[in-house]
């Protein structure tokens, strides 16, 4: 079944075309010598086909661009992948998404185009002034506007009930050494006592007024982000043999894994002011959202950047070990997992890992509205006590 009318008059197509650069020549990437000649030729050909209105041929050429760039993205460690290949990939996604939306189009075309754009955002790099983000906004708006107002979600919502708070036993953190809690310390105080010496601290009163802490419904998440594709980790912890990573839409994730009702909240977040104490640019701060059911565990591991972990929904039990005590944490010896401990923190095998028993640590139960500062390379273990939504800010 097709939708949309050919030629002028299709609102979606016009909105998409309005996002493109004003001159045809500007719809191109400046890659220089960084990609091989064949790729440059194919990109050129794809763009020419696009301008020539040869949508089916352009789609085919874009697919080849995507498949080739995908192979480059999978060659060598991710951090060594030349940014140019990620830009090529994003560009292929852009062309493919546009070709899919060309009227007359299938009913499923816009959702498919959205998935393609999400792949471009996940795996690609920014192109043409972050055009993919603007394309996504147009596609999402189109999908939302086409939904009937009384349309009910595909899955029946669980009946309204309080989030089960005693689902997983919460450790009694009073028996353990606590991460200090400070109410809105000054930048200088934070820098002198925590950032420079690399000491963890909970910042209270900083995030509790963020708009996202207000009421937010499961309906709203599904409505606003349900069609978006996100990476999902499946399995209780990533060191398990049956752990895997996959991609699915937020809608698919919610219907499959989220059974509790969650409190409502709005979606705005802000970058903590404290990040300005770092040497990196604001654009280089990596913001990730972590959404999962109670019991989700992140095994003890360290990250190469400073981290502000803002808790939005639910509580997390967190243990922190200093990098100075790394030896007692028995990191894996392989390169792939050398930043991950072999020890199961809440159920350690002390015969195999004897030094772990004596390793000093700090712990806390991080509650909504609080931000935990995890210094760079500080070992951390996390267990969600409730259905949890957190936002992490990685900065340098």
């Amino acid at each position: 079944m097709a939708e949309g009318t050919e030629g002028p008059g299709d609102a979606l197509w016009e909105a998409l075309m309005a996002l493109l650069p004003s001159t045809k020549e500007d719809l191109m990437l400046d890659l220089g010598e960084k990609v091989d000649r064949g790729t440059a030729l194919l990109l050129q050909q794809a763009v020419e086909l696009f301008h020539g209105g040869r949508w089916a041929d352009c789609l085919q050429a874009s697919e080849a661009v995507l498949d080739y760039a995908w192979e480059k993205l999978n060659t060598g460690p991710w951090q060594d992948v030349n940014k140019a290949w990620r830009q090529v990939y994003a560009f292929g996604c852009l062309l493919k998404a546009l070709c899919l939306c060309q009227p007359p189009r299938e009913v499923t075309a816009v959702a498919a185009a959205l998935r393609v754009c999400d792949m471009g955002l996940l795996m690609g790099a920014a192109i043409l002034g972050d055009i993919l983000i603007r394309v996504v906004a147009v596609l999402q708006a189109h999908l939302v506007s086409r939904k009937r107002p009384d349309c009910s979600p595909s899955q029946e919502l669980p009946s309204l009930k309080k989030a089960k708070r005693d689902h997983v036993p919460a450790p009694d953190v009073r028996l353990e050494r606590a991460v200090p809690r400070l109410h809105r310390p000054s930048l200088q105080h934070f820098r002198k006592h925590f950032l420079l010496p690399g000491r963890p601290v909970i910042l209270a009163g900083v995030a509790d007024h963020w708009p996202c802490m207000k009421k937010w419904s499961l309906d709203y998440i599904r409505e606003v982000a349900g069609c978006r594709t996100v990476p999902v980790e499946v399995g209780s912890r990533y060191t398990d043999e049956d752990w895997s990573q996959t991609l699915m839409t937020v809608e698919e994730f919610v219907s499959k894994y989220i059974t509790n009702e969650i409190p409502e909240l709005k979606r705005d977040i802000s970058i903590p002011d404290y990040c300005c104490l770092g040497s990196g640019e604001e654009e280089e701060i990596t913001i990730n959202a972590w959404f999962g059911p109670p019991g989700t565990v992140s095994p003890l591991h360290q990250d190469p950047q400073q981290n502000f972990l803002a808790q939005v929904i639910g509580r997390k039990y967190i243990r922190l070990y200093s990098p100075q005590d790394s030896e007692a944490l028995y990191p894996h010896e392989t390169h792939l997992l050398h930043n991950t401990s072999q020890v199961d923190v809440e159920n350690p095998d002390l015969e195999k890992f004897p030094k772990f028993a004596e390793a000093p640590f700090l712990s806390c139960t991080l509650a909504p509205g609080e931000i935990l500062f995890i210094p760079v390379k500080y070992w951390h273990y996390v267990r969600a006590l409730d259905l949890s939504f957190s936002v992490s800010f990685w900065w340098s």
Binding site: D36, R37, G38, Q60, A61, A64, D67, T75, L336
Partner: protein, 395 residues
């Protein structure tokens, strides 16, 4: 994937592959031709400009008397018996006096006739159309330290003398320890496979997809012996993008590395989700292939394999013996002793030759050659396509 093979019927048996001298024009016992299928989005053979992919084998038309093929992603190099190399696809041009060619996106390497019986190694930019000067040239014979060096002239990317090999990325020339006694060398996207005079296999490079075969995901900086294959002399090795294949002297097939598109002929999650796993068990009454999700004999679902970090023995249907293997980026092709061709893995561009774009995680015979009573002698895979040499099978 990036190593050419030559098609001299007299040399197609295992023993001859090890001993044959460099190819010279000679009378054929039976007439043979080259076929191609898969991606031809740059107009390379067998495509003809307007088509992006060929789903079933088609004869190569433009170049006659091909004796070896080396295919890169966007172009193919075809070497004729008369010593002429012709380029098809994003790169064009031709040159004479050519014994061997090795095509990659970055460089085209040619082994040209030099003065006397010497040979000269040349690296050309693919966009040069073989006009002007090569990027670099040298006499490989000068490297040869021993007169009985194992490598033959037709062993690119292994250089004659077996003391070095050519790489598409700098450094373009890389040394090999003489004690390795390299006979054949194949390059994947981030790894290398080496076959030595005794039939042992070495691997090195990136290993994050298990393509090195040592049982880990760790990289190896230096050639490391595949201990799992010790005691099993290998006759041939082939490297795909992230997977590896070798054929033993007795016709067994071993395969390891990444299985994301079923290129290891093991059940893969991506195909099961697409419901494209074909058991190869046979045909239904109406001729359609029997289809079910991958499973074990007792009906339990088989585990999906994403990565196989150790060599695994792969049985071909009908207990056929393998004689030759070649790999594309994400697909595998094998020629059997009885002249059949099996392919599996990524099939989106028709590179499996079964007439469609399906990917497969089981070896399937390319029926085209059976239907036309052709005996397959040689296969060479480009990253996304496949070239086959076959002769008339009536004997």
């Amino acid at each position: 994937m990036l190593s050419p093979t030559f098609a001299d019927p007299a040399a197609a048996t295992m023993a001859n592959l090890q001993e044959s001298p460099r190819v010279e024009p000679m009378a054929e016992e039976r007439s043979g031709s080259w076929f191609g299928f898969g991606f031809c989005g740059f107009g390379q053979e067998p495509g003809s400009g307007c088509r992006c992919q060929v789903l079933s084998p088609e004869p190569l038309q433009a170049v006659r008397d091909i004796c070896r093929v080396s295919a890169s992603w966007s172009y193919t190099a075809l070497v004729t018996r008369g010593g002429r190399v012709e380029l098809s696809g994003s790169a064009s041009g031709a040159a004479g006096g050519c014994r061997d060619a090795w095509a990659s996106e970055e460089i085209l390497v040619l082994l040209r006739d030099g003065p006397g019986s010497q040979a000269e190694l040349q690296a050309w930019a693919p966009g040069s159309a073989l006009r002007g000067e090569p990027l670099w040239a040298q006499e490989p014979e000068a490297e040869r330290a021993e007169p009985d060096a194992e490598a033959r002239a037709e062993a690119l990317p292994l250089l004659p003398g077996a003391r070095a090999y050519v790489s598409p990325r700098p450094p373009f020339r890389r040394g090999l320890a003489p004690e390795l006694r390299a006979r054949r060398l194949e390059l994947g996207a981030e790894h290398a496979l080496l076959l030595d005079a005794a039939g042992q296999v070495f691997s090195w490079g990136g290993g994050r997809h298990g393509q090195l075969g040592h049982g880990t995901l760790e990289a190896e900086l230096e050639p490391r012996l595949l201990e799992a294959l010790q005691g099993l002399p290998m006759a041939q090795v082939a490297a795909g993008g992230w997977h590896s294949v070798c054929v033993s002297e007795t016709g067994d097939l071993y395969i390891w590395g990444w299985n994301e598109s079923g290129q290891l002929a093991l059940p893969t999650r991506s195909l099961a989700e697409d419901k494209r796993t074909v058991t190869g068990e046979g045909l239904n009454q109406d001729g359609s292939q029997v289809e079910r999700a991958a499973g074990t004999e007792d009906g339990a679902p088989a585990p999906f394999i994403a990565v196989q970090p150790f060599p695994a023995l792969l049985d071909l249907p009908l207990s056929s013996d393998a004689v030759l293997a070649s790999c594309g980026s994400r697909h595998t092709a094998v020629v059997t002793r009885t002249g059949e061709l099996y392919t599996w893995g990524w099939g989106k561009y028709g590179q499996l030759g079964h007439g469609d774009s399906a990917s497969l995680d089981r070896p399937c015979r390319v029926e085209y050659f059976v239907d036309k009573q052709l005996q397959v002698k040689t296969v060479t895979c480009g990253p996304w396509n496949t070239y086959v040499y076959a002769v008339n099978g009536n004997s």
